[in-house]
């Protein structure tokens, strides 16, 4: 019964990863007629001293540090606001916030490239100018070193919050209502009920969604590839972008595979942290 799944995982996940691991110790260049050499840890040493990679990792980290809390908080707020049994509009709102989730990132990127158009004709600039009563200075969001990463974060949150919201709503529905009633009998106000009942009961779901989002933050690729190519001057470069560019544009398989191994190590580390966070409650 397990064999089809095991076969699939072996063939398409474990074997390629093992291959990556091996290639990361070589100088394999895609299509090169020269024989491949074992180069030991050279690729890793180079990555270690590569300022472009350091920049990319810092961007991933920034992305995670901003997007994970922001998106989780927003999703939680929406879930709590929309969790009103019997409210007719809840379904409509849920559909609205969920809609961007079904937009492929390539489409999200298309829409936001238009929204971020430079100059005051650009919709985002126009909106900000209107909100600030004309004090806003028009920017070229995607090409401004100070704004580009933030611009990518904004569209990622826009696209990602819906799924997180729906998962949290599911978690909310599973909280037995007598817990709230008991808390209300104890004289707890809405805020206290949120802190004493909702948050602890949602803890695992929250950790799960936060983990999911942080792994996504280290996988960011499509929007970078389509909108900024890692620019301006590395301001939006990410680990995945570096990896794909190495492998398929610059044909440096050895380097790309070393990046792959590094990437998996980071994801393992994040998952380990989640396990730790989950275990703490058991103590």
């Amino acid at each position: 019964m397990v064999s089809p799944a095991v076969l699939g995982l072996l063939l398409f996940v474990l074997a390629p990863f093992a291959l990556s691991f091996l290639i990361s110790f070589t100088d394999l260049s895609l299509g090169s007629p020269h024989p491949m050499h074992w180069v030991g840890t050279l690729q890793y040493e180079r990555l270690f001293h590569d300022p472009a990679l350091a920049r990319a990792l810092a961007n991933n980290l920034r992305f995670a540090l901003v997007v994970v809390p922001l998106q989780t908080a927003l999703a939680l707020a929406l879930a709590v606001l929309l969790h009103r049994p019997g409210w007719r509009l809840a379904g409509l709102y849920r559909a609205i916030f969920f809609a961007p989730v079904v937009f492929p990132m390539s489409l999200v990127a298309v829409i936001w490239r238009y929204l971020y158009a430079p100059g005051l004709q650009g919709p985002a600039n126009r909106l900000l100018s209107w909100l600030s009563l004309g004090h806003w200075q028009a920017r070229d969001f995607l090409h401004d070193p100070e704004w580009a990463l933030g611009a990518l974060m904004a569209l990622s949150v826009w696209q990602g919050v819906g799924l997180q919201m729906v998962i949290l709503l599911g978690g909310l529905q599973q909280i037995p209502s007598d817990l709230y009633e008991a808390a209300a009998l104890d004289g707890a106000g809405p805020l206290q009920r949120f802190r004493r009942v909702t948050l602890p009961m949602l803890r695992n779901t929250l950790i799960f969604t936060a983990l999911m989002t942080s792994i996504l933050a280290f996988r960011v690729f499509d929007q970078v590839q389509i909108l900024t190519h890692g620019g301006p001057a590395g301001a939006t470069s990410t680990l995945m972008f570096e990896l794909v560019r190495s492998a398929f544009e610059r044909l440096q398989m050895g380097r790309a595979c070393a990046l792959t191994v590094l990437f998996v190590l980071i994801v393992l580390l994040l998952t380990g942290l989640q396990r730790l966070a989950l275990r703490q409650r058991a103590l």
């Binding site: 019964m1 397990v2 089809p4 799944a5 095991v6 076969l7 699939g8 995982l9 398409f12 996940v13 474990l14 390629p16 990863f17 291959l19 990556s20 895609l30 929406l78 606001l81 709102y93 559909a95 609205i96 916030f97 809609a99 961007p100 079904v102 937009f103 492929p104 990132m105 390539s106 489409l107 990127a109 298309v110 829409i111 936001w112 238009y114 929204l115 826009w158 799924l163 729906v166 998962i167 599911g170 978690g171 529905q173 599973q174 792994i215 996988r219 690729f221 499509d222 590839q225 389509i226 995945m240 990896l243 492998a247 398929f248 398989m253 595979c257 792959t260 990437f263 998996v264 994801v267």
Partner: protein, 245 residues
């Protein structure tokens, strides 16, 4: 407050729809139809996502069920393997996989965009945790009547897996429908290309015409939105949390 946020959320979608109708009106939609074989692309995307979801449901639920219920040698090792696969994202194996797929000459087919995504660590784990909490009594009754594990799975377990099947379908559908990197690597032409990649291509192939690009975008999400609208009555948010532990 939800109203304000919803407005902010709808704004980009409104821009998309309004943009698809400006400078050319409905003609933009016709132009898209003339410039690309939209039905072919839609078929590719539906075919790829559909089979990935269906085959994945079968393969992963079987594995999840076996891991949760059957005792067999190597079970613990397999469970560990699934956990490891859960945290290796596809992007991490894209480069070596591309290398091997190319060696085997399997590029530019629909199959090569389906098979690597069928067996999935996350899905197996979702099914596994769901079946751990599945009431044993029913199975035991069936067992007494002489049914083997395959019959129990087929007649009893799978038909009662609604919520976790929904979770699996939503997660798989979203990632499969939006796939960009892998199709970029393995498709050479429109015959096997899915929609998101075709859109990215459309957007960078002159003449660039925003109206047409947006019309392409609208055409691309309408089927999914309809699909989700249709499924909403079957798909409750609660089902998405099943298996999250």
């Amino acid at each position: 407050m939800p109203a304000w946020l919803a407005l902010l959320y709808v704004w980009p979608i409104g821009m998309l729809v309004a943009g698809s109708l400006q400078a050319g009106g409905l003609g933009n939609y016709l132009a898209v139809g003339q410039r690309v074989d939209f039905l072919r692309l839609l078929f590719n995307s539906l075919w790829i996502s559909g089979w990935t979801v269906v085959l994945g449901a079968l393969v992963n639920s079987l594995a999840g069920y076996a891991l949760a219920r059957l005792q067999f040698p190597g079970r613990a090792v397999l469970l560990g393997l699934v956990l490891i696969c859960m945290v290796i994202p596809f992007e991490a194996v894209a480069a070596p996989l591309f290398y091997s797929v190319s060696r085997l000459g399997l590029r530019d087919t629909l199959g090569v965009q389906i098979l690597p995504f069928v067996a999935n660590g996350v899905s197996i784990y979702l099914f596994y945790t769901f079946y751990l909490e599945f009431p044993r009594e029913l199975e035991e009754a069936a067992c007494l009547e002489g049914a083997g594990p395959w019959q129990i799975y087929g007649r009893l377990v799978l038909p009662n897996s609604g919520p976790v099947l929904a979770t699996h379908s939503v997660i798989t559908l979203l990632s499969s429908w939006g796939a960009y990197l892998w199709p970029l690597l393995v498709t050479a032409g429109p015959q096997a290309r899915p929609l998101p990649l075709a859109l990215a291509n459309f957007m960078t192939t002159p003449p660039l015409h925003w109206g047409q690009i947006f019309a392409f975008g609208v055409l691309m999400v309408v089927p999914v939105l309809l699909g989700f609208g249709f499924l909403q009555r079957y798909f409750q948010p609660g089902s998405l949390t099943s298996g999250i532990k």
